[in-house]
């Protein structure tokens, strides 16, 4: 109950942002929502199930290109977005069967390599995807800058809320419980009756579907995509960092981490442009060394110490 209330509150707070009339702020907020979707999705496979997936870039790019290619054949935008999510889901379910039996490092590498292979496939099919030249997306009719800023903000916000809503449901469900068992002791989970293969595939698919739609929305938002852009390895690593930042395996950790990371990025981009990669690296290192359980755990500790009677 508490979780739904928090989600509603945050959702509402964000929903009134356009009233400020600040397009730049809106753009930042749209990116925060997109980051939140990526982080929340990663949390299903990486946080709950404990399988360190680097496939987020693959799903994002796949969704972006699916939607863009469909729209180049005059499929309506919203339908293309939905199709992108579906394709990402099916792709994950299929690939999952092949790589989810790998553990640890091998799984991580395999998931990382998938994006590379997809990128190369796009590069070598220029007739369909524009290849290295990229692909343009059609503009919406009668749109203005202000309208688009609001439209895509609400689209990403809705996606973010949806992803978090699904997270709330999953965390409290049999699936979530089973995934946590798998993460802590996969052998014991199997013996206790958990269908680990099905559960892992479900988590992996969940980690793909919203990311795929986000890729599609992003593509429509920026009107032009190219392979290094939507298959960027950073898209695979940043969700991880966000989740680590906010608190792995929690419900609100991922979106919190998304907000924080974007705040850091904005600060750094403005002040340290040439070294912004290094600063991101520094943040990551500091995080891993000093705060592996994320900020949410710090907050919890404080609350416990403050609230609990001695």
């Amino acid at each position: 109950m508490k979780n739904w209330a928090i989600l509603a509150a945050v959702g509402l707070a964000f929903a009134v942002l356009p009233l400020t009339g600040d397009n730049y702020l809106l753009r930042l907020a749209t990116t925060v929502c997109m980051y939140a979707v990526l982080a929340q999705s990663w949390n299903f496979i990486g946080g709950l199930a404990g399988y360190p997936s680097f496939a987020t870039a693959a799903f994002f790019g796949l969704g972006a290109y699916t939607s863009a290619v469909l729209q180049s054949f005059d499929v309506p935008m919203f339908t293309s977005w939905g199709a992108a999510g579906l394709v990402a889901l099916l792709f994950a379910a299929l690939i999952g069967g092949a790589i989810l039996h790998l553990r640890g490092h091998y799984f991580a590498i395999a998931s990382l390599v998938i994006a590379e292979v997809l990128r190369e496939i796009v590069n070598t099919t220029p007739d369909l995807t524009g290849g290295g030249m990229g692909l343009n997306l059609p503009l919406m009719e009668g749109s203005s800058v202000a309208f688009e800023a609001r439209f895509f903000f609400y689209a990403m916000l809705a996606l973010g809320v949806l992803a978090t809503a699904v997270a709330i449901v999953v965390h409290g469900s049999k699936l979530g419980f089973g995934l946590r068992c798998i993460q802590q002791n996969e052998d014991a989970a199997t013996i206790l009756g958990v269908n680990t293969y099905a559960y892992k595939t479900a988590a992996f698919s969940l980690s793909a579907v919203f990311v795929g739609i986000a890729g599609a929305v992003y593509a429509s938002w920026v009107h032009y995509i190219e392979p290094p852009d939507v298959f960027d390895i950073l898209l695979a690593v940043k969700p991880l960092v966000m989740v680590l930042l906010g608190g792995i395996g929690t419900i609100f950790g991922p979106p919190l981490g998304a907000l924080l990371l974007l705040a850091f990025e904005e600060l750094v981009w403005r002040n340290f442009l040439t070294v912004h990669a290094a600063v991101l690296g520094l943040i990551i290192v500091a995080l891993v060394l000093f705060l592996p359980n994320g900020l949410l755990s710090l907050v919890r500790e404080r609350l416990k110490r403050a609230g609990a009677p001695s």
Partner: protein, 249 residues
Amino acid sequence: MSLLVLDNATRRFGGLNAVDGVTFSVEPGEVVGLIGPNGAGKTTMINMITGVHPATSGRIQFDGRDITRMRPHQIAKLGLARTFQIVQPFPKMSVVENVAAGALFAGGETSLKDAHAAALEHLRFTGLADVADRPAAALTLAQRKRLELAKGLAMNPRLLMLDEVNAGLNASEVDDALGMIRRIAERGVTIVLVEHLMKVVLAISKRIIVLHHGQLIAQGDPREVLRDRTVIEAYLGPKYAAAYSGGAA
């Protein structure tokens, strides 16, 4: 109808038959002891029956169904549970959550709430009710062994295979465990007990099976089996077997 039937079951690893052509059956309601020297293949046999390392040849039937090729989680749902020799809890979860997992995924409970309630019952039965909310990693060894037992019970098994539940326990802890196992058997659960402690085996088993180098070398009444020359030879070698075998088959 026998509850568990092994028919010439073999499990091969590389060039070695860890379980070699074993044939036996377990009747409902029995308590069967499974003994044998170290490396005889007892744990491998349990892994084979539960589908962790499926049989390379032969057949295994449980409750009339062929489970030879089934996956572990499917076998668990049919009512076959086992405990691990080296305990395997979910360390970060609480004790009650650990047991609830068993109730939810194999024990037939449909909601998390019901599983939780069922778990508390099993914790009371195994005497762990007062540590229900502590993380599993914080328990003592004896408590962890009982947690293994509680998890197995939560699965509502028809057949429960206990792999060295008493390893590492002191004498009074062993007595407690013995009492618990008896009470489980009284509830109608069929038990297969892998044990090194002869006192436990003799106290509770109606029948024993002896494994040596993966093969079944003897089975039958506990006292007779323990006087069997081949069994003594397996444990102590031919010299002692000659000295001890007072006339048994």
